[in-house]
């Protein structure tokens, strides 16, 4: 014990400097660690942000493509419907033409009435 005390008494300045150096090193290490932690936090934050932004853009593209497909299907259905109507009206009109041709032969008076009614033309004998 006495030996230890004598050593401490003899080298107290060196020991004090060593303690001080240790404390300063520890603090410097802690400060450096904090900086590294801050940097890591920033990097992690950027990574999360980039990942989620990428997902968002991907989702946006997918939703838009889906909407476009839906639009194409609707337009196609509408065009089909209209085309069907056009075909049916052509047939109906052809039938009506035949009907009027028959009417000319079978009931000319009614044909005259129809012309007068549709065009407001005056029939002259």
């Amino acid at each position: 014990m006495e030996t230890l005390l004598s050593i401490l008494g003899k080298y107290w300045k060196e020991i004090a400097i060593a303690c001080l150096l240790f404390a300063v090193s520890f603090l410097w290490w802690q400060d450096h660690k904090s900086l590294v932690n801050a940097y890591d936090a920033s990097v992690e934050s950027y990574e999360v942000r980039i990942k989620e932004l990428k997902e968002s853009y991907k989702r946006e593209t997918e939703r838009k493509e889906e909407a476009l497909e839906e639009y194409k299907e609707k337009v196609e259905a509408l065009e089909d419907e209209y085309s069907e109507y056009r075909n049916s009206i052509v047939e109906i009109k052809a039938e009506r033409v035949n009907e009027l041709v028959r009417l000319r032969q079978e009931n000319p008076q009614q044909l005259i009435s129809e012309i007068e009614e549709n065009f407001h033309f005056e029939y002259v004998e």
Partner: protein
């Protein structure tokens, strides 16, 4: 008359419309011809077509208008839906920015808070004092 001719004649009678399958004809009749005025004469086919055209005109136009309207409506629906999608995803991205920045700030605050607990001048002064204390104490005990 052969059997085939009879059959053809019968078909023509049954389907008289085939006899009017032409496109229709018309002619211009000058004044002085056996009509009381200068005239345009349409044959039965042409007259029937004109009448039919007039009869169906309104319905056809209405149908075409309806078709165009629905087409334009679909176009605008797509544009609106795209804008809505962009808006939704922009909101999501905005929220992501806010959340991640909040989290980052929180972490940085924690780090600063931890650092604030350690006051370097105090630590240095304390270390020096402790060093001197230990030295003087040891020297004092050793002198005894």
């Amino acid at each position: 008359m052969s059997m085939l001719s009879k059959l053809l004649f019968l078909i023509c009678l049954v389907y008289p419309t085939n006899a009017h399958a032409g496109e229709g004809r018309f002619t211009l009749i000058p004044k002085g011809a056996p009509v009381p005025f200068e005239a345009t004469c349409f044959d039965t086919e042409a007259t029937a077509k004109l009448l039919t055209w007039k009869e169906f005109l309104k319905e056809e136009e209405r149908k075409q208008c309806d078709f165009e309207k629905r087409n334009i409506s679909l176009d605008y629906d797509l544009v609106i839906e795209n804008i809505q999608i962009t808006l939704d995803e922009t909101k999501v991205r905005y929220q992501i920015e806010i959340d991640t920045r909040d989290k980052e700030l929180e972490e940085l605050r924690d780090i600063i808070k931890k650092n604030k607990k350690l006051n370097i001048p105090v630590v240095v002064a304390t270390s020096v004092a402790v060093g001197f204390g230990i030295g003087f104490g040891t020297y004092h005990f050793a002198s005894k």
